[in-house]
């Protein structure tokens, strides 16, 4: 029982913002393919143009539509990473865990995902990883179809090569 005269020292003042999120054409395409277990990016139609995963529908470098779909591998390279030690309210994952920017093979930009089945202290830039998928019957329109990425026994990618496939189309 709380004392009738007990001084109020704090109040809860939550703010909830309710959205109805519509994915848009390019992310919807990406998510539909993801439901089939495929990672796909998009690219401009000119040869050698960069591949964006996930796609947003236009090339951020030139503003042109990315109307060419490209399937990429579920193998990737660690571009950067963070070892999270502090619990995040509402996040069910127990620290410490690794969040990484990963560049899928065939893509030129990174996406964020979890790394597991690894020694956190051994995670490093250039490390090779592969997706660990959930069972197919659980697949949805979600990046959560991939539980996490785990290290694979392949040589590291030199830093200067990560996500830096030739980028053309800016000259014109």
């Amino acid at each position: 029982m709380s004392d009738e005269n007990e001084m109020i020292t704090g109040i809860e003042v939550p703010i909830y913002l309710k959205y109805n999120f519509t994915a848009g054409a390019a992310p919807a395409r990406f998510l539909s393919q993801l439901k089939e277990g495929k990672l796909t990016g998009q690219s401009r139609s000119d040869p050698g143009a960069p591949v964006y995963v996930p796609p947003r529908g236009s090339c951020p470098a030139t503003g042109q539509p990315t109307d060419t779909e490209v399937e990429v591998a579920d193998k990737a390279t660690v571009q950067s990473f963070t070892i999270v030690h502090i619990p995040i309210p509402g996040n069910p994952i127990e620290p410490p865990f690794v969040v990484a920017n990963l560049v899928a093979d065939g893509a030129n930009i990174s996406f964020i995902h979890l790394m597991s089945e690894c020694d956190n202290e051994q995670v490093h830039i250039g490390q090779r990883v592969q997706a660990v998928w959930r069972p197919e019957e659980e697949w949805d329109y979600s990046m959560d179809n991939i539980k996490y990425f785990k290290p694979i026994d392949e040589p590291d990618v030199p830093v200067e090569h990560i996500g830096k496939l030739p980028v053309t189309g800016l000259e014109a």
Partner: protein, 146 residues
């Protein structure tokens, strides 16, 4: 590429803040729990409700609490025809600046009324308390026309 199906999903972003109330707002809320409304005396003698921690003119720390009345006068108001989800009432109501008896500045709260015509500047209102007061501004359930 084929036209993708349109995907959309409800999404709620929550900022689950807690706020430390400090000695002045904490006292105000503690008094609300006891069904009292207190203000604080400013350096020029004005009574400010809800109380503030520092004087608006001199910035000096304030500490002299003053109990004010539970009735007051509508200084200004805005009638809400179509209440939204976050609003305190499901029926049309008025947001109002209410100057409580003994206070020198108005405070914002809401006025329950069956119709817009009954609400006017200068109208007298009275605080109605929640059945269960817990130390929050909603302990004053609403103001009703006297």
């Amino acid at each position: 590429m084929s036209q993708p199906e349109i995907l959309n999903q409800a999404f709620e972003l929550g900022f689950t803040y807690t706020r430390s109330t400090g000695p002045v707002v904490g006292r105000f809320l503690t008094e609300l729990k006891k069904r009292n409304i207190v203000g604080i005396k400013a350096s020029d003698g004005r009574v400010i409700v809800p109380p503030m921690e520092y004087d608006p003119d001199t910035a000096e720390e304030l500490s002299e609490f003053v109990e004010v009345g539970q009735e007051g006068e509508i200084i200004s108001f805005a009638w809400v025809k179509h209440p939204r989800e976050a609003h305190p009432s499901e029926r049309p109501f008025a947001w109002a600046m209410i100057k409580l008896d003994g206070a020198d500045v108005p405070m914002v709260h809401w006025v329950a009324s069956d119709s817009e015509e009954l609400v006017s500047t200068g109208a007298r209102v009275k605080a109605t308390w929640s059945d269960d007061t817990k130390g929050y501004i909603t302990d004053i359930a609403c103001f009703e026309l006297v």
